[in-house]
Structures are given as structure tokens and as C-alpha cells.
Amino acid sequence: MADREHDVSTTATTPLFEVRDLQVHFPIRRSGGQVARALDGVDLEWRRGEVLGIVGESGCGKSTLGRALLGLQATTSGEILVDGEPLEDADLRAVRRRVQMVFQDPYQSLNPRQTVGAQVLEPLAIHGIGARGADRIARGVAVLEAAGLRPAARFWDRYPHELSGGQRQRVVIAAAMALQPEALICDEPVSALDVSVRAQVLHVLMTLKRERGLSLIFITHDLGLAWALCDRIAVMYLGRMVETGTAEQVIGDPRHPYTKALLSVVPSPFPRDRVRREILAGELPDASRIPTGCRFHPRCPAAFDRCRSDDPRTLAAVAGADGHRAACWLVDG
């Protein structure tokens, strides 16, 4: 905060969040000191105004990463920078006001014993925003309507169980937007919703982004969604990014064999687009037994000797593609 003036000159280029070699390890009970490495050296940049997709299978660490960004998850080592400043030095309350989180299951975020109105007023009260009474209520009404719950009066006194799944997720989004955040971290925000409702909720999010210049993270396993909505995509495997770049680079010209395999199995509604499916055998290995060498090598169709012994620790730049990087020995720097 003391360097505010200095910050102004760098704001345009300083990412909103920067993550360097982030590690989050969980001790395993009664294992004699073994740990699960949920995050195992994550590097990531989230730029202002950007829609960033974090893509991977369950258990790859993508939700842990989302929580770590907001200081909701203790980290083992590595750095998280907010506006270039270490998160540990930042005022977490202020960060959580500026960056809100939307989870997959609206029930996880809503208090079943609170009315819709109370849910959107609560964050305002906690952060002491606006005057108690009419001012806060006006703000609450405005965010509910912006989230598509119109007229807000019809929903104000209802309880979560009286709403549909899509309406509940809109309440979550409205409560998150009440603090006028700069950014939202959305963890599988629509995967629990029905098909038509899903599109409605996505439209709400994208409209908010367009009108308020929000930065967004979409944590998802849905590559189609990432392709349609994200500016940049980071593909995560077993606690680490394996490929990053613009959506066109990562989806249009994937370089990591894991990204290629994921893309080949995404069901396509256009049968003629079908590429040969590269179905990986087995499951994501346990985060307490991360393979040596390249962590992907036991499932990789292109693995060779070096992959079994050497860890492609840094993301190598793909030649001729600015910003496109992959952690694979087959990608030459």
C-alpha cells in the first residue's frame, strides 16, 4: 500500500495474480510422514480483464489452486503475488473483497436458513459497505437483477430450498457481485446445472464480465466451455501446469500429449469432426505417488527414455508461438 504510486505505473502490465512454484502438500494420516502433493510446482499468470481457463481432471489440484489464490488454503512453499505484492503481506480481507469465488454447488455457498435478501446483504454488512438500511437494500436489489433474478422483490424473501438450481447459482453470483469485485474465480460453476439453465448462468457471467470488466477464472473439466469462453487456458495434470497459452494455441495446436489426449476424447456433436480417440488407460495417479521423471509418462503414448528419469520442470516455449508453453521433452525451446 505504501508503494501505491509506484504501482500505478506498472498496473497495466502487472498481472492480477502471479503464481510461482506453488506447492501445497497435505500430510497423510498414519503414513509415517508421507504427503500428498496437491500442488507441486504451479506457475501461472492471471492478467487483468482476462478470462483464464484452468482445465484438468478431478484430483489434478485445480480447486486447491483456486482456494490458495484467496488465501483459503495454506501453502507449503512458493509465491502468490497479487498486483505484484506477496499474498502473505496483503490484506486478505481486502483481497477477498476484490476477488470472489463461485463454487459448483450453490448449496455449498448459501445459508439454507437465510433468505435471498439476507444472503446478498451479508457480504455488504461484513465489509461495511454502504449505509445500513435502504442503501444496502438498493445495492442488493441491483445485484440480484444483474444476475437475472428479476424482479428482485419476487425472490427477496425466499429461502434457497424454494429456488431451482439455476436460481440458486444466480443468488451465489449476486452475493459475490455485491462487493463489486474486480474478479471472480468460478469453480465448475455450471456443471451441476441442467442444460438450458447452464447456458443462462453462463450468459449472466459473461455479461457481467463485459459490462464491468471483470477478470474471470473458470475452473472446469469441460474443454468445449473453455474454448468458447476463455482467452487463455492452462491445462493442469497432477498438481502442475502442463500446457499454457491462448485458447487458439492450446486447443487449436495442442503440444502436450496430455492436452492432445483430452481433446481427442471430448465428445463432439459433429460426428465428422471425430479424430482418433486417444483414451488414456487407468486413472490419475494418487498425489502421494507422483511418478518420477515426467509425471505423465506412465500414461503417455509418446513417452521415451528421458521421460522416465527427467522431470520437464519448466514449461518450454513453443517455437514461433508467443506465450504458448508446454512441459514436455518433445517440445523444443
Binding site: E57, V195, V197, Q200, D222, W227, A228, V266, F270, P271
Partner: protein, 340 residues
């Protein structure tokens, strides 16, 4: 209709005719949640049933298995299964009679495998129970051999059959469910959102497994899901359901190339395709109608982006457009190039 149900063509395994499923509301009125549904499933075919929650797709499946909850009944409908050992009129069977059919001729794989498996019972005992139910004379060794064979089909080491359901991951549990569904050598397997809770790679594994089993064992498959891209990958023909009725039916190839019902058009666009347009398709506004309060005209009219005056006034019939395709829209077929 009768003891002498007309013979079905040999290549048709299942014939559903004018099926309705209803409940009585507080005022004693009949409320239909499935209404006039007819379709056939051919031998060896994978048939898809798609639509939003509440459209009647799962209720239809439960009717095929004789598993409707007691609050529901069938005002109309015939369900004929052209089984290898003779025609079965499922709609006439009592619960006792259905026990001869369920699992042995028609079986089901549910969405949440954990709900269908008994958590305190070894997997081998659960599958063994199903086998013994239909082959009372089978000895212990026969059961073990059969379980090993079933686990071989679904790609799990036979030794793991001694484990409990919670010892399996989500994908593995779904494989166990499939083994259970195959235990009594059914001719038709119904999968109700069998991959919805799974990640994309696990989903691909399970869908591939179902495809392999269908081919190797000569099964017919009904796949129920809201994800039209999953059906595109696995099915030969699909029926799109809306508000208890079939809105459109046809081969995957034709229906996806040129969806004729505006609902199908929007449903197809709802799942952005990798490599497709980099934008969100327009959402289908609103919610499906309350079954107790259906619109008088076309049931989709209040949400339709191409609605005309006639739509609110008159309910369209499901009209055949060619041998394979039918759509419940006054304006089908739409001129080429207008189906957006």
C-alpha cells in the same frame, strides 16, 4: 390389445407404443409426465433418449423396467420386448412377472453407482445374488466363474470382486455397475446418465466400454442423457424429449446435421463444441412447463425463439419427415440453412 400381439419384425427388440405415465394430483386429476411416447429399438442398436431434467426420459426408462414408483400409473401404452425366447408384453406384467424380465432381459446402469450398490456388501456377493436369482441351480464355482468373466468384460481384475463399493473410484464403480447389469445376460441395457458424474477421460473409457460390449455381446443399448454430444459419439438414433413428449426423433447423422425442432436446435448449441464458434449460443429462456399446467398449443411455444401465432393455438403432431425422422413442429421441415 391382446394376447395375440402382432409379431414384431425380427430386427426390432423393443417396441414402445403410445406410452403415458401419470399421477393423480390433489384434485384427483390425471397429470401426465410422459405422454404418448412411441419408439422402437432395434437389435444391436444404441438408441439415445435426451432432454432436460423433468422431460420424462428417466420415467420412460423406469416404465420399461417396471420400476415406476407406486404413485405413478400408466393410462395408456404397450411395451413389447421381442426377446430371444419369445415376445414379452412388459406393460401387462405384474411385479412378480417383471422379476423374470428385469436384469435377465432388460437391465439398467444408473447415474450414481454408489446409490445402486449396497455399501456394506462385497461386490462379489451383490453380483452373485443377481446371478443366483436367475439361475437358482448354479453352484458356487459357477458363480465365481461367471463373476470372473463379468469382471473381464469390464476390465477389472477378478480379485477385486471381493472388495466393497467404497474401495472403488467413481469410474471403477461405474464398471462394477455395468458388470452387475450384465450378470444375467440381458438383451437390452439402459444407461441413465451413466457418465454424467465422471471426468472427460473416464467418460471416454466408459463409453468405449459400452460400445465394445454392445458389439461383442450383441446387446441393444438405450442411453439417457442431457448431453447431446455424448449421444452423437455413441448412438445410432436419438429421440429428443420435451415436456413428456417426443419432440424429434431420427438418426444421429441426420438429426445433428439438420435439427428440425427449434428445441433440438438450441439444445445442440448449448454444449459449445471444441473447434466450434468461440461464443456462447443463445440460451433457451425460461423453464419447462409444469406437467399439471401444459400450454394448450405446442408445449415448447412459450420458450421457442421461432414461435408463430399458430403455435400457441394448436398443438403440433409428431409428423414423419422421412422414413427415419419425425418432428413435433408446425414448420418442420425448415428451409435448409435456417435451422439456427
Amino acid at each position: 390389445m391382446s394376447a395375440s400381439a402382432p409379431d414384431l419384425p425380427a430386427d426390432v427388440l423393443l417396441d414402445v407404443r403410445d406410452l403415458a405415465v401419470a399421477y393423480r394430483n390433489g384434485r384427483g386429476e390425471e397429470v401426465r409426465i410422459v405422454d404418448g411416447v412411441s419408439f422402437q429399438v432395434r437389435r444391436g442398436e444404441a438408441f439415445g433418449l435426451a432432454g432436460e431434467s423433468g422431460c420424462g426420459k428417466t420415467t420412460t426408462a423406469l416404465a420399461l423396467l417396471g420400476l415406476l414408483p407406486t404413485s405413478l400409473y400408466r393410462p395408456t401404452g404397450e411395451i413389447l420386448l421381442n426377446a430371444a425366447d419369445g415376445l414379452v408384453s412388459i406393460h401387462k406384467r405384474t411385479e412378480r412377472g417383471m422379476q423374470q424380465v428385469r436384469w435377465a432381459k432388460v437391465s439398467m446402469v444408473f447415474q450414481g453407482a454408489m446409490n445402486a450398490l449396497d455399501p456394506v456388501m462385497r461386490v462379489s456377493n451383490q453380483i452373485g445374488e443377481a446371478i443366483r436369482l436367475h439361475e437358482p441351480g448354479i453352484d458356487r464355482r459357477g458363480v465365481e466363474e461367471r463373476i470372473a468373466e463379468l469382471f473381464g468384460y469390464v476390465g477389472i481384475a477378478a480379485a477385486r470382486s471381493r472388495q466393497y463399493p467404497h474401495e472403488f473410484s467413481g469410474g471403477m464403480r461405474q464398471r462394477v455397475m455395468i458388470a452387475l447389469a450384465l450378470a444375467c445376460k440381458p438383451e437390452l441395457v439402459i444407461g441413465d446418465e451413466p457418465t454424467t458424474a465422471l471426468d472427460v477421460m473416464m467418460q471416454a473409457q466408459i463409453l468405449q466400454l459400452l460400445e465394445d460390449l454392445r458389439r461383442d455381446l450383441g446387446l441393444s443399448l438405450i442411453l439417457i442423457t442431457h448431453d447431446l454430444s455424448v449421444l452423437a459419439e455413441t448412438c445410432d438414433r436419438v429421440a429428443i424429449m420435451y415436456a413428456g413428449e417426443i419432440a424429434e426423433i431420427g438418426t444421429v447423422r441426420d438429426l445433428y446435421a439438420k435439427p428440425e425442432h427449434p428445441y433440438t436446435q438450441r439444445l445442440l448449441a448449448a454444449f459449445p463444441a471444441v473447434g466450434g464458434p468461440r461464443q456462447l449460443a443463445p440460451a433457451i429462456g425460461g423453464v419447462p412447463p409444469d406437467p399439471a399446467d401444459q400450454p394448450t398449443g405446442c408445449r415448447f411455444a412459450p420458450r421457442c425463439h421461432r414461435v408463430q401465432d399458430i403455435c400457441a393455438a394448436q398443438a403440433p403432431a409428431l409428423r414423419a419427415l422421412d422414413d427415419e425422422r419425425a418432428a413435433r413442429c408446425h414448420f418442420a421441415p425448415w428451409p435448409t440453412g435456417s435451422t439456427t
